[in-house]
């Protein structure tokens, strides 16, 4: 075990996969000479050179398309978006091309590509750089969506995503790049896509969290135990699509209460999907309506106090758990 930041765990995964498979290459804005806008690709250009680590013009639609075409023709591109907010420029390629290619070619052309980058809010970067976009991409059959919350998950899932034969949306979180946790050093350390992880076991209430809300939920769980003697189970699906709904359902059957904490906006969110599925498969096990904690229904404001107000927080999660536990 090594203790790594999520940033370094991602870097390690990329490096290992570049070594393992020569068809893997990294492409994006500032990924090479600059060492990555968030230093996720630090040192890779120096080690692997121009062919494997490619700086692009600021041309999101263009380089996303190059990735799709290259993947169709046999390569395994890892395309970095400086933030997922910029992926909207490339949405046509991700959605109309990558996601649908296998189907509309009658199974002939798969697109083994990873689109990755930070998703959601950072620190006071305002409306156009703070959106959490997983719900949008989750609506398209053909895409897989991964959102790690620990260093080990980041590494194991990114390696699996690169080896996956489908287009994978891999969403990191800028606020979490510096978080440290243990990572197995095995070069074949993989975490399969579509398997949730129980980050903390509990009996009174289930919190389903992903990405940034996982550490928030774990903190909330500590406080709830300490102050209210409430035992919270925290589940991180890790992969939004395919979603490991079974683990969530089984947890809800045990705790009878569910809080979903997510950084995206609430309307038509992944949390709404989970909530629906729980209603469908565990209705008779619920003791309270499912509660969601999401970002306020407004573009992200710049002002520090307003930003904090908009985002999920430990206190908001605690209040939600108390509400479903009738405390």
């Amino acid at each position: 075990m090594a203790t790594l930041t999520i940033r370094d765990a991602l870097n390690q995964a990329l490096r290992e996969e570049l070594i393992r498979d020569e068809n893997v290459f990294i492409m994006g804005e500032e990924v090479a000479e600059y060492d990555g806008a968030y230093k996720v690709t630090r040192g890779l250009w120096k080690e692997f050179g121009d062919k494997r680590v490619v700086d692009t013009p600021i041309t999101e639609l263009g380089f996303a398309a190059v990735g799709v075409g290259a993947a169709m023709a046999g390569l395994r591109p890892v395309i970095e978006f400086m933030t997922w907010n910029f992926s909207i420029l490339a949405a046509d390629q991700i959605i109309n091309h990558a996601a649908k290619m296998l189907y509309m070619s009658g199974g002939q052309f798969n697109v083994p590509i990873v689109f990755r980058g930070p998703n959601g809010s950072a620190y006071q970067v305002s409306s156009q750089h703070s959106h959490a976009l997983e719900a949008m991409y989750a609506n398209f059959p053909g895409l897989k969506i991964v959102m790690p919350s620990t260093s080990a998950d980041a590494k194991g899932l990114l390696k699996s995503a690169i080896r996956d034969d489908n287009p994978v949306i891999f969403m990191e979180q800028e606020r979490m790049y510096g978080l440290k946790s243990d990572v197995p050093e095995d070069e074949d350390f993989l975490i399969p896509l579509g398997v949730a992880d129980v980050k903390r076991e509990g009996t009174d209430c289930t919190i389903v969290a992903r990405s940034m809300t996982v550490p928030l939920s774990l903190q909330a769980a500590d406080k709830l135990k300490e102050e209210f003697d409430v035992s919270v189970e925290v589940i991180d699906p890790r992969t939004i699509k395919p979603l490991d709904i079974e683990t969530i359902i089984n947890s809800v059957k045990k705790t009878n209460r569910l809080v979903i904490a997510e950084e995206s906006h609430a309307f038509a969110s992944v949390g709404a999907e989970i909530s629906h599925t729980v209603m469908e498969y565990a209705f008779d096990h619920l003791d309270a309506p499912v509660k969601r904690i999401s970002t306020a229904e407004a573009p992200m404001p710049y002002a520090k106090n307003l930003e904090a107000l908009a985002l999920p927080s430990v206190d908001k999660i605690i209040d939600a758990v108390k509400e479903v536990c009738y405390i």
Partner: protein, 377 residues
């Protein structure tokens, strides 16, 4: 967060830009925005000028290739005419974009390729698919939405694909395939496979951002790709003059210091010659080319297009320069093929089309289990 511009690279393409490429008078800007039939006459005058030298080229070209080129053009014509017929009978659903009048482009360019070269195109893809090697049966069955279609009935008119034939699809988003084709060329260069990518799109796609993004990267990274702009002069019902600030599409490549040519798309030999030059550039120098190939779409944009935006006179004017008629005349004059050969080719094209229709009719609809297959690999 502010982005810094990608580092400038010291890539000089001046020698490419300086190359002499054929330049038509039709490149001049249109000022009134109306269709200008005098352009047809100018293009034709140029054709007559080069005809004698072209006949020499024909005489030097393998007769089998010439016969096959004519056959593919005639087959493309008969096939698309039948499509219009059975579409009206309700056997083909959805959109159906026909290629009639543009045959010289697909045939002239693609028959200059090696089988391992890659092709990607837009939704007007039936004839390209067949020229690349997909059987007329599989194309027609796809149009019918049948199990025997080249993508099992999942794509229809706009989405013909064949991995076996390096045909990377018909694509439905105007311009989308320009970027994907660029990526295919990127892979070829990466893998050093020696493949050339041929990427077709209509002139209206040139107004999409992806065209400019792609050409920039292709020249920046020196990709072995040939962009063929099939300028049929109408983006759906809007004439090029009403949608583009300049009529000169080939010259847009100059902005990227990319080699470019204007080509008479009614002259299959001219298309072939220009493509061969571009292929050489791609294969030997790993450099891209933009070809603007000017043709004319005889039919509406799709089967649901009444064509009210242009006159019968205009259509007739272009049909005088029908690519099949021009090519036949040249082949006859060069003593390559006789009238009897033409009749045989015609007969064969009709038979192949009939076989395709029969196959499509008899092929079953896809099994219901296919609905959820091929979503994930």
């Amino acid at each position: 967060m502010a982005k810094t511009a990608a580092g400038q690279r010291d890539v000089s393409n001046k020698e490419v830009a300086a190359k002499k490429v054929p330049e038509a008078k039709a490149r001049s800007n249109s000022s009134n925005g109306e269709s200008d039939l005098s352009v047809v006459e100018m293009v034709h005058a140029e054709y007559l000028e080069r005809r004698s030298s072209q006949l020499e080229t024909i005489k030097k070209t393998d007769k089998k290739i010439l016969r096959e080129m004519l056959f593919q053009m005639v087959l493309g014509r008969r096939f698309e005419e039948k499509c219009a017929e059975v579409y009206r009978m309700g056997k083909i659903g959805g959109f159906c974009h026909l290629y009639i009048g543009q045959e010289a482009i697909a045939v002239g360019s693609m028959m200059a390729l090696e089988p391992s070269d890659m092709v990607i195109t837009s939704y007007r893809d039936h004839v390209q698919a067949m020229v690349k090697g997909i059987s007329p049966e599989a194309v027609m069955a796809e149009l019918y939405g049948k199990e025997g279609g080249c993508v099992k009935g999942k794509g229809g008119s706009m989405h013909m694909f064949s991995k076996e034939h390096e045909f990377y699809g018909g694509h439905g988003i105007v311009g989308g395939q320009i970027g994907v084709g660029t990526g295919m060329a990127y892979a070829a260069k990466y893998k050093e496979s020696g493949q050339v990518t041929l990427c077709f799109f209509g002139e209206a796609a040139v107004n999409q951002g992806i065209f400019h993004e792609s050409l920039n990267m292709a020249q920046l990274w020196k990709l072995p790709i040939i962009y063929i702009c099939e300028n049929n002069q109408y983006g759906m019902g809007t004439s090029q003059d009403r949608a583009m600030s300049t009529r000169n599409i080939a010259k847009k490549a100059d902005a990227f210091e990319m080699a470019n040519e204007f080509v008479d798309g009614m002259d299959v030999m001219a298309v072939r010659e220009a493509t061969l030059r571009a292929i050489e550039r791609a294969r030997n120098e790993s450099l891209p080319t933009l070809l603007e190939v000017r043709a004319y779409r005889y039919m509406g944009h799709s089967m649901s297009d009444p064509g009210n935006y242009r006159t019968r006179e205009e259509i007739a004017k272009y049909q005088e320069r029908d690519p099949i008629v021009l090519f036949k005349d040249s082949l006859k004059e060069a003593n390559v093929l006789s009238e009897k050969d033409f009749e045989k080719i015609e007969q064969e094209a009709i038979e192949v089309t009939e076989r395709a229709l029969k196959f499509a009719d008899e092929s079953p609809f896809p099994d219901e289990s296919e609905l959820l297959t091929d979503v994930y690999a």
